[in-house]
Symmetry: C2
């Protein structure tokens, strides 16, 4: 079983109320791939420029990620993103986005990758997301993520792409915007309409909600004493969620609930370092220990 | 067993993106008392003016609340509050606060009320909160709530009052402000320091977190399709939490977890109407049914 992750590999500049880092490994696909690699074999489909630092490439290789689909564009510049977080670490301003090689890039699947069992289409042009899903032979699980930029700029294409996905993941503000309602529950149900089997609404430090026709499940955020950098938490969630599901013989409602908790668990480690730094040393045993803590965090017996 | 609720009874003006209501029954003590009355006998300690409408008084009597401590100040004006909610229904602006009879009012316990087993000191002057706690003979459970006004204006007195309380409840932004940290987990632990046995951090639509030396529990918000008016949700939570605990022979960690879920359950009904309107018709059976739904919302088994 293999998880294909398509999206951006980038270089980030991150400012929090407590520190500032430059030239930090980033990008939606990077974080999701590193998270997924804790559970299953991961293939990374993305473009970089020839300015992409070799040590960063080696970090990805060091976690066993298949980089045959990481295309280096000669003379091209790796995408760059800069953001600044507010005091509550929940809200941020985007300072700049430089598309670089991702402007106009047309992803192509390396030979054999069409057989991937699971695919994560991280935030990106919804037409490209659809093309990649269409190029897969018979994926068992697909998930599409997006950002405000594409909701504002390509909503019709995005709706078409989301209808073809098995799962859709969104931030709560994005879900509210697409569904035009302040209610997360109502937004989740609206997004299910005519399309995906499940919708994940990411609630930042408050966790994540999973909505399907037959289920509604909420996992809280892990109560961290210190959040270093929230960047990429949603992508790490997606990697953990899909990585876990990819390993299973069957995807049941009970397994999806567990997958949401695994996603939340990996996301909680992601925010402990700048970008995906924490994921580079994270072990499956550490994930398992915190996963069990999540149960203790929310469990209650209804008896007297 | 009896729950004493002390705080404000008020008349509110509420504006949401969807509607505007005037002369709505409000006040922290009103909402907490109506919530508590679903579980146990409630005594209300508050001041009103002789402008307070008789039908509103009858609503409280109709739910069995003991109004011997509801003092009518001759010639006085009932407190008034106006607020406007933003589109997400999570944030609001206070338009005005008219203290009315609550300016300078000195609460006095009616005969016999010093024997109350449980007490909720809803947001108010921390010196008065402390005086009321001090006037009780041997309360088994006490809880102090506050608002930004007293954090900004009377922090030293508030700290002293919180140290004497069994439980403290706060909004997350207030917890962050007092503890001067963006981390809810760290703020919760800081508030425990040298004082209360447990801290409840209210997360609005995301639910509530309970923090003690030995426990950390999170209950999500109930996924409502429509929130009519969030005003008083935190007070309804307090009433449900304390009302349930008041009925128990023993307050264990497992019972506190259940009490948090009962609090969240009652709060989820509170926001279905303007002010505490929904609580006026709510039954214990309706509470019980939704309480069980909360378990389904968060439960997962850790097995394979």
């Amino acid at each position: 079983m293999t998880l294909l992750v398509a999206g951006w590999v980038a270089i980030d500049e991150i400012e929090t109320p407590f520190a500032k880092v430059r030239d930090s490994l980033g990008g939606s696909a990077t974080c999701a791939a590193l998270a997924g690699a804790l559970f299953t074999d991961v293939r990374l489909l993305a473009a970089i420029g020839d300015d992409f630092p070799t040590p960063e490439r080696q970090k990805l290789e060091g976690r066993g990620i298949d980089l045959a689909g990481l295309e280096t564009i000669p003379g091209g510049k790796t995408s760059r993103w800069g953001g600044r977080y507010h005091f509550d670490m929940n809200t941020r301003d985007t300072l700049y986005t430089e598309l670089g090689v991702n402007a106009g890039w047309q992803p192509r699947l390396p030979p054999g990758w069409e057989g991937s069992s699971t695919a994560f289409l991280a935030a990106g042009d919804p037409v490209l997301q659809r093309n990649i899903m269409g190029a897969l032979a018979a994926p068992r699980i697909t998930m599409v993520d997006t950002i405000k930029f594409f909701i504002d700029g390509a909503l019709d294409e995005l709706r078409l792409t989301m209808r073809q996905a098995g799962f859709v993941s969104l931030n709560e503000s994005e879900a509210r915007e697409i569904a035009r309602t302040p209610s997360i529950a109502r937004a989740g149900r609206a997004l299910l309409n005519g399309g995906p089997a499940g919708v994940i609404i990411k609630l930042g430090e408050y966790g994540a909600a999973f909505v399907s026709e037959d289920d509604y499940f909420v996992a809280p955020g892990y109560p961290l004493e210190e959040v270093v950098d929230p960047t990429g938490a949603g992508d790490a969630f997606a990697g953990g969620f899909l990585g876990y599901l990819d390993t299973l013989p069957e995807v049941t409602a009970a397994q999806v609930r567990r997958a949401v908790v695994y996603g939340s668990t990996v996301a909680s480690f992601q925010v402990e370092g700048y970008g995906p730094a924490r994921l580079l040393t994270l072990t499956r045993d550490e994930v398992e220990a915190r996963y069990l803590e999540f149960r203790a965090l929310t469990h209650f017996e209804v008896g007297k």
